[in-house]
């Protein structure tokens, strides 16, 4: 079946059809059986016999007659006394008793006298007949067909088996139908989640088999989409690489040229400046590429990362950089002994924390301190990086994480440090981890950047 619509339509139609015809057939058949057995049974003869027995020997003879009486197959003949009990104490099934009562109550009003040609002690009504004993007690005849189904259906074990069989068959059909629908949908769903988390390699057509219905088509469309996304991501990466290569090649030449010039002309301070600028340009190119990559990234294939160790490493490296600028003498102080495991991209996290720390170092006064505090909560871990600088104006705070945003203070100081992308990269990297980053002015002055990351 090539269409889901057709599959659904035919399956339900078939199931409903089978159930209706099975139920109707069984019902008709049962009714027919009952009718036949009742029709075949003529109550008149036994009635006359019973009437004679009652006349001759009273209730005891009637009881004996009933014990000896063998009705036709599928028929039970009850003789019920005034107390409502069967003469030979057979119990009626609930269903039989209910039918009996209905007939009895119904017929009471219309009970009529017996016909002339019938015995004196016999009273007939439509459903029930009565014999009246010499003592005036009545004996009601009730013919039940209730044994017919039992004799046909057999005992209760067989009925239980039939019920189980019916459940199994209908269950199997329903299961086949449901899984034919839900299993490809589940596969598609898993693939979609992986795709959203950045696994562009994922394809579903193979696992769906050779389906030619709507789900198969959807699977193939999904694959086409994934292929296109993968191509776009690849082109983006290649473009970044090429930009990086093309912009950096001239820089590499500049740096060699500067060195050659330095040899020829002596160590002029301008050469150091040229070197510094080339390096700054290089790091700006790097930051721009890094920012673009993060902006486009949805890759959430995370590893387990020990945040404590990672921060320790970053602190060590930022301190290493600080030592190179010995004149400033800024120090980063952190207590990161504890092990905090979260899920994430180690590189993105390093980049985020490092950029925040560098920013703090840059805005600290000479011999200042940058403090890093880690607070572990139930649902998330907060890393606070506070500097000992002068802080920023409150209206600048929310804009600090915008690319190339400069506060009034930094524009005035005309500082050449930093690319203007560090905090923007940090924000993007933290957002990729579904975390939050925000800045505030600390109680003791200085800027505090809080990074909050969800626990794994």
């Amino acid at each position: 079946m090539h269409s889901l619509f057709l599959r659904f339509f035919l399956s339900f139609w078939l199931i409903i059809g089978i159930i209706i015809s099975a139920a109707a057939t069984a019902g008709f058949w049962y009714a027919e059986q009952v009718r036949e057995s009742i029709e075949d049974f003529h109550l008149s003869d036994p009635l006359f016999e019973a009437s004679a027995a009652l006349d001759a020997g009273g209730p005891i003879a009637l009881k004996e007659w009933l014990q000896d009486y063998e009705p036709a197959r599928g028929i039970t003949l009850f003789i019920i006394d005034e107390a409502g009990n069967d003469l030979i104490n057979r119990s009626m099934s609930t269903w039989t008793e209910r039918t009996y009562r209905r007939h009895r109550d119904h017929d009471k009003l219309r009970s009529r006298l017996s016909r002339r040609d019938e015995p004196q002690n016999l009273r007939r009504s439509r459903h029930l007949s009565q014999l009246i004993g010499g003592d005036g007690k009545t004996y009601t005849f009730y013919v039940s067909a209730s044994r017919i189904p039992e004799s046909i259906w057999g005992d209760s074990d067989v009925r239980l088996l039939l019920l189980i069989f019916a459940l199994l068959v209908s269950g199997a059909v329903s299961y086949a139908l449901a899984s034919a629908i839900s299993s490809p949908v589940r596969k598609l769903r898993i693939a979609t989640v992986s795709l959203a988390d950045g696994d562009l390699e994922i394809r579903v057509a193979d696992s769906l088999g050779n389906r030619r219905d709507e789900l198969g088509l959807l699977g193939r469309d999904f694959d086409t989409m994934a292929t296109k996304l993968q191509g776009a991501a690849k082109r983006q990466t290649e473009l970044s690489r090429n930009i990086s290569h093309e912009l950096r090649s001239p820089l590499a030449r500049i740096r060699v040229a500067v060195e050659l010039a330095r040899r020829k002309a002596g160590d002029l301070s301008e050469f150091s400046r040229l070197d510094d600028e080339a390096e700054r340009l290089d790091s700006l190119i790097g930051q721009i590429l890094s920012y673009t990559k993060l902006e486009a990234s949805t890759d959430r294939k995370f590893d387990v990362v020990d945040l404590g160790e990672l921060i320790g490493e970053v602190v060590e490296n930022v301190n290493y950089e600080c030592k190179a600028d010995a004149a400033k003498g800024v120090k980063v102080i952190a207590h990161t002994a504890q092990k905090i495991e979260i899920r994430g991209h180690p590189d993105a996290l390093i980049s985020a924390i490092e950029n925040v720390m560098r920013n703090a170092v840059r805005h600290s006064p000479p011999n200042g301190e940058v403090r890093v505090a880690i607070k572990r909560g139930e649902t998330n871990t907060t890393i606070s990086v506070s500097d000992s600088g002068s802080g920023v104006r409150d209206d600048d705070l929310p804009r600090l994480f915008e690319p190339f945003y400069r506060t009034r203070e930094s524009s005035e100081s005309n500082s050449l440090d930093g690319t203007g992308l560090g905090l923007a990269i940090a924000r993007r990297a933290i957002e990729l981890h579904r975390g939050q980053i925000c800045a505030r002015n600390g109680a003791e002055g200085g800027l505090v950047v809080d990074i909050s990351l969800p626990a794994s």
């Binding site: 950096r248 090649s249 990559k293 993060l294 993105a348």
Partner: protein, 274 residues
């Protein structure tokens, strides 16, 4: 290559994510690793060291040749991988400088071909901005790498460090032995039992450092200084990568008893077999 370096390939594929590794574009102020005063050492036996430079950037190659020649290094510059391999096969070189990003045969392929037959030291010039490229050179057996654009003085310092190292040093003639591992200081060769290890110069030096003090931790700083002739840099994974290559080679040579262990945050140690 996959067969030769299964361990390192695994590590690489784990890193092959859609998001190219986010890179620390920091402007590290690279402290002069080896003071230029070290030039004096070059006047000795290294005077005529010959270097093969393979880079498709002709102008850069020309300027680099100029720059390096002034330090009494003989430079042969090639502008493509094919040409470079040909040149490498035809002459004897003390060191190869290899650009990773070249049209045609790329730097990694050239490195692979070189490593099939030789342990000549190789310095890779890699694109900064791709951590994967940066470290993958080391995994394929490069000795050190520099990211473009680099400070040419830094390149000179690294060349000298490696050249100095690959010359057998005086007073270092004793052979080292631990369990199955033997180191012949005269021929610069290492073997496990009878199987010779094809170690690069860097790997050999690292193994020697570890063998000198078995059971004692050698710091990464120390290993970097002795095997690469330079200080350890921030986020510097070079030593770790070389160690990982070395472990792979030892294992494949059938060494089971001695293990190189990582002491987190401190360094590495060679544990003697029991």
């Amino acid at each position: 290559m996959d067969k030769l370096y299964p361990r390192t390939r695994e590590q690489t594929s784990a890193n092959t994510q859609i998001l190219p590794r986010i890179v620390k574009y920091s402007s590290f102020i690279i402290a002069p690793m080896t003071p230029l005063a070290d030039d004096a050492n070059m006047n000795g036996p290294d005077q005529s060291a010959s270097i093969l430079l393979i880079d498709d950037d002709r102008e850069l190659s020309a300027m680099l040749s100029d720059f390096l020649s002034a330090d009494r290094l003989r430079i042969s510059a090639c502008n493509s991988g094919e040409q470079g391999l040909l040149e490498f096969a035809n002459s004897q070189f003390d060191l190869v400088i290899l650009d990773i990003m070249m049209p045609g045969i790329g730097g990694l392929d050239v490195l692979r071909k070189i490593r099939q037959s030789s342990t000549t030291p190789v310095i890779m010039l890699t694109a900064r901005g791709d951590d994967l490229d940066r470290i993958i050179g080391l995994e394929f057996g490069a000795d050190d790498y520099l990211t473009k654009p680099f400070n040419p003085r830094e390149l000179l310092a690294r060349i000298k460090a490696i050249l100095r190292r690959s010359k057998p040093q005086n007073g270092e003639s004793r052979n080292l032995k631990l369990g199955d591992i033997t180191l012949d200081s005269r021929t610069h060769r290492a073997s496990v039992s009878a199987t010779e290890l094809a170690l690069t110069g860097t790997e050999y030096e690292i193994l020697r450092c570890l063998l000198e003090t078995p059971g004692e931790v050698v710091s990464k700083e120390n290993l970097s200084q002795r095997a690469l002739g330079r200080r350890l840099l921030p986020y510097d994974r070079s030593v770790d990568t070389h160690i990982s290559n070395l472990r792979g080679k030892l294992e494949r040579a059938g060494n089971k008893n001695e293990t190189i262990q990582n002491q987190r945050g401190v360094g590495y140690l060679l544990i003697p077999g029991s």
